[in-house]
């Protein structure tokens, strides 16, 4: 990210959480109460569950890149670590409840993240980004090479056991969606508490002026490593959701560099250093290809085959990212804020009382 992008990205004060609690409450009511009743399997499996997993990964990367200012191109490696850790824990320690498996998988991902975060103590910006690529390639190579991780499956692709939490088996689409939703809600709440805490402030301080942060007594090295650990933990949990709630299989190819970029794009398009940003960005990344496919079909009919679709996805997505970086580095979050302010301003002018 350029400095400009980061500076603009945080033009809204860190301590404000603008759509306010009523809005979040409403979202939760819809997500828990209404969607499970009205959505069909396609909506759950193709849109909602992957959206939740990717939003969570975006949230994790945003801690590292948006808040702490450390660029990473290795996100999907940490997703893979989380997914494989959870698979192996479930396989090898069958007595352990799955909720514990998820936590432990996150811890394993955090440990690996910490390890690959060590170069950040000496490297910055572009150089750090390149060193995180090492995580990406190394982790993928290990999972390809060492059969033990995929229980020596000849194809390297393994099916994960059915989700089962506190005795309830979640094998329906809705069940897996609700499971992902609950995990994402809990983690998001914790992340919100974190970014509002003095530690969250230290992350931003580190990003905005490392020397000043050091002089006022922020333990810079510890905070950097903490950012890597927390970020990798969350991305690892997102990997568990991706494998267990969405795909129901684990394979190294699912966690390649493309996925890392996808998560980075979620953060950039959604808005750096914004919790909402991860969700907005993930929504766009998940829904956009489907919309494009429908649109292409409607406009071009048979000419719009899967090859053309994939090409046009890349082109339009690329254009979108460039456009965002140039015109609105603070992402969808800022667009939404501006729209909200305009609406609120109009209400104020017409003299209607407005709250929130």
């Amino acid at each position: 990210m350029t400095d400009l992008a980061l500076a603009k990205a945080t033009a809204s004060p860190a301590r404000r959480f603008s759509p306010a609690l009523p809005g979040i409450g409403l979202l939760l009511v819809v997500a828990y109460g209404i969607l499970p009743l009205v959505a069909n399997e396609y909506l759950f499996d193709a849109i909602l569950t992957p959206f939740l997993a990717l939003a969570l990964a975006g949230l994790g990367l945003n801690i590292l890149t948006g808040y702490a200012g450390q660029v990473s191109l290795g996100s999907s490696a940490f997703m893979a670590v989380g997914a494989y850790a959870a698979y192996n824990l479930a396989l090898r320690l069958p007595g352990v409840p799955f909720m514990i498996d998820i936590l432990l998988a996150g811890v394993v991902a955090a440990a690996v993240g910490l390890l690959f975060g060590l170069p950040s103590l000496r490297l910055r910006g572009f150089y750090l980004a390149v060193s995180t690529l090492a995580a990406q390639f190394f982790v993928q190579w290990v999972f390809n090479k060492v059969g033990w991780f995929s229980n020596n499956s000849p194809s390297g692709i393994v099916s994960v056991p059915t989700l089962s939490v506190v005795g309830i088996t979640l094998d329906s689409s809705a069940g897996r969606y609700l499971f992902a939703l609950t995990v994402v809600t809990a983690v998001t709440l914790a992340v919100w508490r974190l970014v509002e805490s003095p530690t969250g402030r230290a992350l931003v301080a580190l990003r905005d002026h490392e020397t000043a942060a050091r002089v006022i007594g922020i333990p810079v090295l510890r905070v950097k490593l903490l950012a890597f650990a927390v970020s990798s933990f969350i991305i690892g949990v997102a990997g568990v959701l991706w494998a267990f709630a969405y795909l129901r299989t684990v394979e190294p190819a699912g966690f390649n560099l493309d996925r890392s970029f996808q998560i980075l794009f979620i953060v950039i398009i959604g808005g750096l250093a914004s919790l909402r940003g991860a969700f907005l960005g993930a929504a766009l990344i998940v829904v956009f290809p489907l919309l494009l496919a429908r649109l292409g079909e409607a406009l071009l009919g048979g000419l719009f085959d899967s090859g053309v679709l994939e090409m046009s996805q890349r082109i339009v997505l690329g254009l979108l990212i460039v456009t965002f970086l140039i015109t609105e580095p603070a992402g969808l979050t800022a667009l939404l804020d501006r729209a909200w302010n305009r609406i609120a301003g109009r209400f104020r002018r017409t003299g209607l009382p407005i709250t929130g």
């Binding site: 980061l6 500076a7 990205a9 945080t10 033009a11 809204s12 004060p13 860190a14 301590r15 404000r16 914790a190 508490r193 974190l194 805490s197 003095p198 530690t199 402030r201 230290a202 931003v204 301080a205 990003r207 905005d208 002026h209 020397t211 000043a212 942060a213 050091r214 002089v215 006022i216 007594g217 922020i218 333990p219 810079v220 903490l226 927390v230 250093a273």
Partner: protein
């Protein structure tokens, strides 16, 4: 021999321990270019001490050595009775030292209040978990930090912009936020690197008042680098003059004003100074 140099500038044994800051024979060079050469002086507690000199005289290098950002080639720094060959920056705040920077060094994305509260970071004891879960000790610590920060905002008349992102404020105000961040921990020693650079006349006058108030009300010893000679003469108790990395004078404003060596090296001929004084 100029008047100010007739006495020994510095006697390590007596001066260093009782002073708020003392530097002893500091030397620093960057690949053959001498930034500091055998610089020694002491700052008494409660003093406002200016460091002046032409560009490249080594003023900022001196502050960077004192705050541990540069490691001197030779010499020692005394801070509140401790002596260092190289000051540990990580412990600077704990030693009761804070500083501002020549170019703004605010956390642009944080609110003004958060910037100032961040100045208390070295006092935080609660761990991440305690903060996220919201254990009583962590909550108390956080509330106390914000309360202290609010006091400082009131002290520096910044309460009106409390929730604004620091990066969106006008320049002069950002300088003041940086001062608030440096003062919030009630440092024993405050280092200011060109606090008034680029400020308007009114802003300079206000800031001079704030700096004096910090000394008078909070008892902070202040070392500042400043180019505006008029401001320096009015504000400081003593002035140290650097030229080509050497200390060429150290005395009261009156002594410095009349020191031929200083006039020659920095102030220019006397009538220039008279004209400059009105600034």
């Amino acid at each position: 021999m100029p008047a100010v140099l007739s006495e020994p500038l510095f006697s390590p044994a007596a001066g260093a321990v009782s002073s708020a800051l003392a530097v002893e024979a500091l030397s620093l060079s960057f690949g053959g270019v001498t930034a500091l050469s055998e610089v020694s002086f002491a700052v008494a507690p409660g003093e406002i001490r200016a460091v002046i000199g032409p560009n490249g005289a080594g003023k900022s290098s001196l502050l960077n050595v004192v705050s541990g950002l540069y490691r001197p080639d030779r010499g020692r720094v005394w801070l509140g009775g401790h002596s260092f060959a190289s000051v540990p920056t990580d412990r600077l705040a704990t030693l009761g030292v804070s500083r501002t920077f020549q170019n703004l060094a605010l956390f642009k994305g944080l609110s003004v209040l958060d910037n100032v509260a961040a100045g208390l970071s070295h006092r935080l004891r609660a761990g991440v978990f305690a903060q996220v879960i919201g254990l009583p000790a962590a909550r108390r610590e956080r509330a106390e930090g914000y309360a202290r920060a609010e006091e400082l905002l009131a002290f520096l008349h910044l309460d009106g912009v409390r929730d604004r992102p620091a990066g969106t404020l006008p320049y002069g105000m950002q300088k003041r936020v940086e001062l608030a961040r440096a003062l919030v921990a009630r440092p024993r020693l405050l280092l200011l690197d060109e606090p008034m650079a680029g400020m308007t006349l009114t802003e300079k006058r206000d800031l001079s008042g704030h700096i004096r108030a910090a000394r008078d009300d909070l008892g902070t010893t202040i070392v500042l680098i400043e180019h505006d000679v008029g401001v320096v003469m009015g504000l400081s108790d003593r002035i140290a003059v650097l030229d080509y990395g050497r200390l060429i004078a150290d005395g009261t404003p009156d002594e410095i004003r009349n020191d031929p060596v200083v006039i020659d090296a920095y102030l220019g001929v006397a009538h220039d100074l008279e004209a400059g004084e009105g600034i």
